[in-house]
């Protein structure tokens, strides 16, 4: 702020000039060599008690003004620099700008212009900016992790660093115990689980239920239970703020702020609520996410394809590569069931593909796998199985469907007999001992969307070293290759399979998966599921019950 214009300043230093100063709206002081006051107008003597002519400025005014006077005088003596430099500072509870001007006799006249209001506004603005920056930073830190524990720790740490000396995050009680997170001065957060009653601290129970916060002045710091005070905190707590952490519908906990020596101002309490609103939102997002991922995890345990192995003298191997790593359960599935009865050691293999993706597809997949499991006793009759499954899945309000292949597998002597039925699914392929690849001639309607379905079952025999491959169209439709957008295709799959004659089932699956992975490289693809059914080489001395591995000949 520039000094008010138009105020006459004497350059003569004559006594009568003080009459002019006496009417000046601002405090005015004149000092002579040595910092001794020569003139003090009434406004100045009201402001600075003890300021009168003959008194040293340093004895009557704050140090900042005496220093500015001294500096200015030094500059005048040296004849260096400008002599306009003002100063500013506090006099009591008021802030002033001091503007000097030189009078003709070499004295310096100081005009004191009050700027307390501006100073306070600037300070408020700076505080507000700092708070906004803090809230932005807090939101960033809180939302960057969807982990509940990290979110609680961040809340306690941030609050203890910026809002109070110490902070405690109290989470909703679990099994009669209160989870607490203590932090002091932005340091490491200490987590604990305390068997305590939240009603021991007035206002805490209410905050945990999401009621509006109680004003800090109503909370007696002496009522603070010992478990609330952070370990190693030595100060005597004089002020407590308890703020709910509002969540989505239900409160996410409460934030308790502690301070020794001094009270929380109304403004600070409002600010604590702003912070708590952000922390609560982040906490409940983290909580929802944790719940979601727990559900997904639980579902996945049941829906992930099983590890296959040798059953009834037939080798089985399966591989599954979901479309997106974060959705580990997709629309493809396979299972091998023991379907034998009365000493008939046969297996039922099912490999399928459910339309859609994500959880929706996973739920439908689960339904199909459960239903088929229940229908295994009628595995001799694929048409009947598929008919019943179709009836179970038909739904009036959607047409989500599945395609699948059923394979009944039975080993007799050295060969494996297969009965295969496709329900709207790509036909199974068989690689013969000489590398020839045959398509199995089965064909049928997809399952779950149409009232009437039909299918044709085909039979084939695997001799030792031959493999039947069931796969989903994720393989044939995988896009990649040299140009990046070519489909892997059936022909390429057949060529790959023709090199797999005489390989164990595991190796066939690994080879096919590897070729497909190389084809798509990092590119996107749909779920890919594959099952190999292989008639093992009969070079083991069958000790022959078909269940044990037997001993191998050279």
């Amino acid at each position: 702020m520039a000094p008010p214009p138009g105020i006459p300043v004497t350059r003569t230093g004559e006594r009568q000039a003080s009459g002019v100063w006496s009417t000046a709206p601002h405090p005015v002081l004149e000092s002579a060599a040595g910092g001794v006051l020569t003139e003090v107008n009434p406004a100045a003597s009201r402001l600075l008690r003890g300021a009168r002519p003959g008194v040293r400025l340093a004895d009557a005014a704050p140090a900042w003004l005496a220093r500015a006077d001294q500096d200015l005088r030094d500059r005048i003596v040296n004849g260096s620099g400008d002599t306009d430099g003002g100063a500013s500072g506090w006099i009591g509870a008021r802030s002033f700008e001091a503007h000097p001007s030189r009078s003709g006799n070499g004295n310096v006249v100081w005009w004191l212009v009050e700027d307390t209001d501006r100073r306070r506004a600037e300070e408020a603005l700076a505080t507000e900016r700092e708070r906004t920056a803090f809230l932005t930073e807090a939101s960033h830190v809180l939302l960057s992790s969807l982990n509940t524990d990290r979110c609680v720790s961040a809340t306690a740490r941030l609050a203890s660093e910026y809002l109070a000396e110490a902070a405690v995050v109290v989470s909703p009680a679990r099994g009669g115990k209160l989870p607490l997170a203590h932090a002091v001065g932005g340091q490491d957060v200490v987590r604990s689980l305390v068997a305590a009653d939240p009603s021991q601290l007035p206002g805490l129970d209410e905050a945990l239920q999401g009621f509006p916060p109680v004003a800090s002045r109503w909370i007696d710091p002496a009522a603070l239970p010992a478990w609330m005070i952070p370990e190693g905190y030595t100060g005597t707590i004089t002020s407590v703020v308890i703020t709910p952490l509002p969540g989505q519908g239900v409160p996410a906990g409460a934030l308790v702020l502690l301070r020794s020596g001094g009270q929380f101002t109304e403004n600070e309490q409002i600010f604590a609520r702003l912070f708590a609103a952000r922390a609560g939102a982040a906490l409940s997002a983290a909580h929802l996410y944790a719940e979601q991922s727990a559900i997904t995890h639980t579902l996945m345990q049941d829906l992930l394809p099983p590890r296959l192995h040798r059953v009834n003298g037939v080798e089985f191997a399966g591989g599954y590569r979901p479309a997106a790593a974060q959705e580990r359960v997709g629309g493809d599935f396979f299972d091998v069931h023991h379907a034998g009865s009365d000493g008939d050691d046969s297996s039922l293999v099912v490999l399928g593909d459910v339309c859609g993706k994500g959880l929706e597809a996973a739920v439908l997949t689960g339904k199909i796998r459960n239903t088929l499991q229940a229908l295994v006793p009628m595995a001799d009759d694929h048409q009947r199985m598929l008919g019943l499954l179709n009836g179970a899945l038909l739904n009036s309000h959607h047409t989500r469907f599945a395609t699948m292949v059923l394979a009944s597998v039975r080993r007799t002597d050295h060969v494996v007999r297969l009965r295969l039925t496709s329900a709207g699914h790509p036909v199974p392929l068989v690689v013969r001992a000489d590398g020839r690849v045959d398509e199995v001639g089965t064909h049928g309607t997809l399952i779950g969307a149409l009232p009437d379905i039909e299918s044709r079952t085909a039979e084939t025999v695997l001799r030792p070293g031959e493999t039947c491959l069931l796969y989903t169209d994720g393989f044939t439709e995988a896009r990649g290759g040299p140009l990046g957008d070519e489909m892997f295709g059936e022909e390429r799959l057949k060529r790959a399979l023709s090199e797999c004659a005489d390989m164990p089932a595991e190796a066939v699956v690994e080879r096919i998966q590897m070729l497909a992975a190389q084809w798509v490289r990092g590119g996107g693809h749909d779920d890919m599921a594959v099952v190999a059914i292989t008639a093992p080489r009969t070079n083991h001395l069958s000790a022959v019950d078909g269940h044990t591995r037997g001993r191998y000949t050279a």
Binding site: C355, G356, H398, T399
Partner: protein, 124 residues
């Protein structure tokens, strides 16, 4: 996705309604097709025919087929014949593998004439 990947155009002449499909019919776009087809079915084409012209379709995944099956279910309930005109080879293969080709009336020689170029309504 910045731009919609399925473009639908509705045309009608002589009571037959034709929905032209261009682009990608997949998880993200099949609901849109089902909704547009529903609107056409609600109007009740006087000639009792709904044509889906797939000539410009680049891709159709399982959810796309699911939408076609839903359209089939609704047209059947209303006694409307559902035609699939100019299906590209990949679509023929899909319908054949899934055993659903018979649900859609085969493309007649007049398929193109039943879809006149006169555009009544366009969406982007």
């Amino acid at each position: 996705m910045s731009a919609p990947s399925l473009f639908l155009t509705v045309e009608s002449e002589g009571g037959a309604v034709c929905l032209r499909l261009a682009g990608v019919l997949d998880y993200d776009t099949s609901d849109e097709l089902a909704a547009r087809a529903d609107a056409c079915i609600e109007q009740g084409p006087r000639a009792g025919e709904l044509h889906l012209d797939c000539e410009k379709l680049r891709l159709c995944d399982s959810t796309g087929l699911s939408a076609l099956l839903m359209i089939h279910r609704r047209t059947t309930a209303r006694g409307i014949t559902l035609f699939l005109d100019n299906p590209p080879p990949f679509m023929e293969r899909m319908l054949s593998v899934t055993g659903t080709r018979h649900l859609f009336a085969p493309e007649s020689g007049k398929a193109r004439q039943s879809c006149p170029d006169e555009v009544r309504e366009t969406t982007d």
